[in-house]
């Protein structure tokens, strides 16, 4: 019986909106699968393209970047910079032969706990269909060094 492929999703959540949204999902006890690991930044604008590429290099199957809704950014325009960067990154992924759907950008406000859980569930399923990341084979068996 083949084991179902469990995608590894890495999430970058901004402190002011999306991290709070994920917290609210917890407070509301909205359940979602365990496939995601979360990294907190102050603003979605902090997320560097190299961070995303490094994540894929480490064998992650999907990267979720979340921030405040446009117009609500705590630092006013940080999420706009993030949006441009993700658009650019998707093109880069395509160039290197990775499906751009492995990178997803979403705006989640502090009151959208349900939305956060839904996005995580959707992304897990979507990436599951895409299969393991083509970069994975190269890092399996290598111990993550700190």
């Amino acid at each position: 019986m083949p084991e179902q492929f469990e995608p590894k999703i890495l999430g970058f959540l901004c402190n002011w909106c999306s991290y709070a949204g994920a917290d609210l999902a917890g407070v509301s006890r909205i359940q979602y699968p365990t496939n995601i690991r979360i990294i907190r930044t102050m603003c979605s604008g902090r997320v560097d393209p190299t961070h995303v590429l490094e994540a894929f290099k480490s064998g992650v199957d999907g990267v979720l970047v979340t921030g405040c809704h446009i117009g609500d950014c705590h630092y006013i325009t940080g999420n706009l910079a993030c949006q441009k960067r993700v658009e650019f990154l998707k093109k880069v992924l395509e160039e290197i032969g990775m499906d751009p759907r492995r990178l997803r950008l979403e705006w989640v406000s502090a009151s959208e706990g349900g939305k956060f859980a839904r996005i995580v569930k959707e992304m897990i399923e979507e990436v599951r269909k895409l299969g393991p990341s083509p970069l994975r084979k190269e890092v399996v068996g290598v111990e993550a060094s700190v």
């Binding site: 917290d23 979602y32 603003c43 902090r46 111990e143």
Partner: protein
């Protein structure tokens, strides 16, 4: 200037000694995640010298336990794995600080909101995920550096730009608090727009009385230095330390001085409706402000101008348009019309006075009352729509003929008027637009100054230390302007009273060896925290808010964020999944 220890980038020399405290949070975490197993796992992680579990880490016992462990086990990094940093980070940071450990050597692992509470039916997987989360935190912790929240000295002095009612009020308030105030006014006289106004609504007080006494108190205040016929030419620096250059009208001489805070109170001017409704073409068509000037002369002056039998006021002239900049409603014109209509009725009880309006903005508790009084006094209100504007033509004698489509009655009316008054919006002036560039503060699509946050920071700019009040911010009446002037004084008084502000510890750091001066950071920063000088970017720490947009954009990887460095983030990325086991571990 600034007291701050230079951050050590990369990580400090000494070997990390990490203590991990894993919380049960009663059954909230402990009921799903096998906490003792996670503790055992934590003990195997690199650099972890101590790990324990607590029922409630945030309780008095838990806090005491952390402090004790720091001292006894000589910890130089602390991790608490429990709920969300958004509520509890300050608490644990304080605990570390009390025990002599820099609070930025502490980091959080969220295993409740992001783990036990959302994976309640998968306890094994939740436990494995908790281990991953703890491991990510320890990896990050190894790269943490101590940080100091620097203090920036704040000069207890303010620059108030604009000597109208808002500027005068703010200047008085701040001076009464003991702060030195520089009041800069472009005209020869103080008073601004109010010098043109006859009476205030709804109290019917004469402006001249109120304005006189306020101007006198400003002139006689020992803390206020007034510069009239002067404008601001340049502003450098940041909160607490602005260097202002002013210049007198038509003269070469400049005046340079230092202030701690800046208040923009530059007011607004009335829009002149050239070519609208016959303005400029026919006699006896005025704007409300022009009308006020006539009223200021009293009834005799008015009699000489015109003895009105029929007066019509047309609302929303040049306002509420399809496109910016005048797409807005100017808020006060309906009440101004009501006030002036009542004044005409007072002097000429037999006159027919019409207010031709689109939506009547007599809002709130007092103004609606005034509207009813106006109707009771016999003033007639005619509702018209944008789609069928009023037509103004020259009638017989010196009269003006108005064709109005009465929207509520569905019929056309004709009025023969001695006097037509056009209610036009307040608009931003050129000096205001120039000032926005000098101060590097934004104006909105309506060209008025744009505040930091429309709801919760209505008088602050995003740039620290600069504030705005009065009609410079947007159309409003005298009472509302004064309230804003008080508010602005309260906001500016905070930093000035304390003589200092704490800056963010999470700030940008530029590696000057790598920086090529491309100015990307300078362009992107919404707070003006990057300044490129001599081909390199310098961070003005006092203004940096720590968002990291610059760091994420720098193509040379020359910028990183303290407490959210690339090393720290990459450490978390690389340890997020137990790839060592070869499988999909943790899932």
């Amino acid at each position: 200037m600034m007291e701050k220890t230079e951050p050590t980038m990369p990580a400090t020399e000494e070997k990390p000694r990490i203590g991990v405290f894993i919380c049960h949070c009663g059954i909230n975490i402990g009921g799903i995640v096998k906490v003792p197993e996670v503790v055992k796992y934590a003990q195997t992680l690199p650099d972890v010298v101590y790990a324990e579990d607590n029922i409630y880490t945030c309780s008095a016992e838990g806090i005491a336990s952390i402090k004790e462990a720091i001292k006894e086990k000589n910890l130089n990094r602390v991790i608490v794995a429990s709920c969300t940093p958004r509520t509890h980070e300050p608490l644990f940071r304080n605990a570390c600080q009390d025990a002599g450990l820099n609070p930025y050597l502490f980091t959080f692992a969220n295993i409740r909101e992001h783990c036990s509470w959302v994976h309640m039916h998968e306890p094994e997987k939740a436990t494995e995920k908790a281990k991953d989360i703890v491991r990510m935190a320890t990896a990050r912790a190894s790269f943490l550096n101590p940080q100091e929240e620097a203090e920036v000295q704040v000069d207890p002095s303010a620059l108030v730009i604009g000597g109208g009612i808002s500027g005068i009020t703010a200047a008085n308030c701040l001076a009464n608090q003991g702060f030195k105030v520089f009041l800069v006014e472009k005209e020869k006289e103080l008073g601004g727009m109010l010098r043109n106004i006859y009476k205030l609504y709804p109290t019917d007080e004469e402006v001249s009385r109120i304005l006189e006494s306020m101007i006198n108190s400003v002139k006689s205040h020992k803390n206020i230095e007034i510069l009239t016929s002067a404008i601001v030419k340049n502003v450098e620096g940041y909160i607490g330390n602005f260097v202002v250059t002013t210049i007198k009208e038509g003269k070469e001489e400049e005046n340079k001085f230092k202030v701690g805070t800046i208040i923009v109170a530059t007011g607004a001017i009335e829009f002149e409706p050239i070519d609208k409704y016959g303005y400029g073409k026919y006699d006896h068509i005025l704007t409300q402000v022009q009308f006020e000037r006539i009223l200021q002369g009293g009834k005799q002056a008015f009699d000489k101008f015109v003895k009105p039998k029929t007066v019509a006021m047309i609302q929303c002239v040049g306002a509420r348009e399809e496109k910016a900049p005048r797409a807005y409603c100017s808020r006060i014109c309906c009440m101004v019309a009501v006030k002036n209509a009542m004044q005409i009725k007072e002097w000429y009880p037999d006159a027919n006075v019409y207010i031709i309006y689109q939506d009547l903005q007599t809002y709130g508790k007092d103004y609606e009352e005034h509207h009813r009084k106006a109707r009771d006094a016999g003033i007639k209100f005619i509702n018209y729509t944008k789609e069928r504007p009023v037509e103004v033509t020259l009638g017989t004698g010196k009269k003006l003929n108005l064709k109005v489509y009465h929207a509520l009655l569905g019929e056309e009316t004709q009025l023969d008027c001695d006097l037509v008054i056009l209610s036009t919006p307040l608009v931003q002036h050129q000096e205001g637009k120039d000032l926005s560039k000098i101060l590097k503060v934004p104006i909105g699509p309506d060209e008025f100054f744009l505040e930091a946050h429309v709801k919760l920071r209505p008088v602050d700019f995003a740039t620290d230390g600069i504030y705005v009040c009065g009609t410079a911010h947007g159309p409003k009446d005298v009472g509302e302007s004064i309230a804003q002037a008080y508010a602005v004084s309260s906001r500016a008084a905070g930093p000035m009273a304390n003589r200092k502000v704490r800056t963010e510890a999470i700030t940008a750091f530029v590696n000057r060896d790598l920086c090529v001066g491309c100015r990307m950071c300078e362009k992107l920063c919404p707070f003006g925290a990057h300044k490129v000088e001599e081909g390199k970017s310098t961070v003005i720490e006092a203004v940096c808010k720590g968002c990291g947009v610059c760091a994420g954009a720098c193509l040379r990887r020359a910028i990183t964020m303290r407490h959210f460095t690339d090393d720290q983030i990459l450490a978390e990325i690389k340890t997020a999944f137990l790839s060592g086991s070869g499988g999909v571990g943790g899932l």
